[in-house]
């Protein structure tokens, strides 16, 4: 039995069925991401001054990934327009470019951005020990400038075993530039180009630390939100790429020969999902990377 209204519009809705279906699905997606975004925003607004991490993500890489997703939104709409013009060769080119953009986005996220975070370390210092580490925190300088205080020392952990071995009494950290030279006015705000950790080593006693961990979800509400939202978004990118791959299989080209408008409609529906994924990233990028 043939599925009805794949190409022609139903008289009551004025739309072919898959179009109604995808918009109902996107409505549920708005609720899914909306809940996570609202949780993030309220956690952020309620965080005490200086306790919300800032400038820990790689802005040039985030900007590049944003550009890649925007480019893929353009190529998918061009693929659909090519099908509408019955130009299968152009469709194949634009669809391949779209898949390529999606794959590059995921590779950058999973093989570079996330692992870089897993390799970074942060130690939140107890309130009564902040003065002891003033040389790394520079809070007097920040107070004079009316800026929020620093409570965390970050960098690369030299003695990883300190995380699990209670007999080791301190952490040895190759400091990030912000903690190596905290009173330098250039460190008051995050940099666009990330600066690697310095070779200046700080020894921080465990008893002065309120909480310490690698940059994992349990490091802070910030990283918990970051990994949850970018992970869920990445899962959507993967889903979109798989659907686009299906649309490049021989079965889809057979459908094109049999009923080209049907394939164009399938691409439009998958494209709507892809644009939604792009739209979510448009908010993820400034909220997590820049602010």
């Amino acid at each position: 039995m043939e599925i009805p209204y794949t190409v022609s519009a139903r008289r009551d809705t004025g739309l072919w069925n898959a179009k109604v279906g995808i918009w109902l699905f996107l409505a549920s997606e708005v609720m899914l991401f909306g809940g996570l975004f609202s949780a993030y925003i309220f956690l952020r607004l309620d965080a005490a001054s200086g306790e919300w991490p800032h400038g820990l993500l790689n802005v040039p890489v985030g900007t590049m990934n944003t550009a890649i997703l925007i480019a893929s939104s353009v190529t998918v709409v061009l693929a659909w327009a090519a099908l509408k013009m019955r130009d299968l060769t152009r469709y194949k080119i634009y669809m391949t470019l779209t898949i390529l953009c999606g794959v590059i986005f995921l590779v950058v996220k999973l093989s570079y951005e996330w692992p870089q975070k897993f390799d970074h370390f942060g130690a939140f210092i107890k309130e009564d020990a902040l003065g002891k580490y003033e040389q790394y925190l520079g809070n007097k300088h920040l107070l004079e400038k009316g800026l929020p205080p620093r409570k965390e020392i970050t960098g690369h952990l030299h003695n990883h075993e300190a995380l699990t071995d209670p007999n080791i009494k301190d952490y040895e950290i190759a400091l990030d530039p912000v903690n190596a030279d905290p009173t330098n006015p250039a460190m008051d705000r995050p940099h666009f180009w990330p600066i690697p950790a310095t070779d200046k080593i700080a020894t921080i006693e465990k008893e002065d630390v309120q909480y310490a961990n690698m940059f994992l979800p349990k490091h802070s509400a910030y990283f918990a939100s970051y990994f949850t939202i970018t992970g869920l978004h990445g899962a959507h990118v993967l889903g979109g790429v798989l659907v686009f791959c299906y649309m490049m299989l021989p079965a889809s080209f057979r459908l094109y020969r049999h009923n080209p408008e049907h394939l164009a409609n399938r691409v439009e529906v998958a494209g709507l999902f892809w644009h939604f994924v792009d739209l979510v990233w448009i908010f993820v990028f400034p909220l997590f990377y820049l602010l």
């Binding site: 809705t13 004025g14 739309l15 179009k19 109604v20 918009w23 109902l24 409505a27 708005v30 609720m31 909306g34 809940g35 609202s38 949780a39 309220f42 309620d46 001054s49 802005v59 900007t63 944003t66 550009a67 925007i70 480019a71 939104s73 353009v74 709409v77 061009l78 327009a81 509408k84 013009m85 019955r86 009316g146 800026l147 929020p148 705000r189 666009f192 408008e261 494209g271 709507l272 644009h275 939604f276 792009d278 739209l279 448009i282 908010f283 990028f285 400034p286 909220l287 820049l290 602010l291």
Partner: protein, 128 residues
Amino acid sequence: MNNPPDISPVDHETEEYAHEVRRHVRGYLMVGGTLLLFTLITVGLSYVDFGVLFSHLFHVNMSEASGRKANVTVALLVATFKAGLVAAIFMHLSAEKRLIYRVLVFTGFFVLGLFWLTFLAWYDPVHR
């Protein structure tokens, strides 16, 4: 921008149709370029301290927290503009059937309700 119509079986109409779609394609490319440009603007604006800027421009004394809120507001305004372009042009919402708008009105209503539920985290009848 309207959705290109279905292709016509008549030859001369097919020609006109192809011309129409090419016009849309130019539009999609322009929107893509605008989105990329505004991505760079978002990055640039995040390095502007709006607290300091507004203090100079309007001779008001803004705290660091107020300045940060101003930066968040500006970034979200730019993001909303970009999202609006994606929705209106790439997702064809600028000229869609009434049923889709109805679905979206309900979505907007319920997502605001969801935000309100999160907002209840601040509800405190004891220390009012």
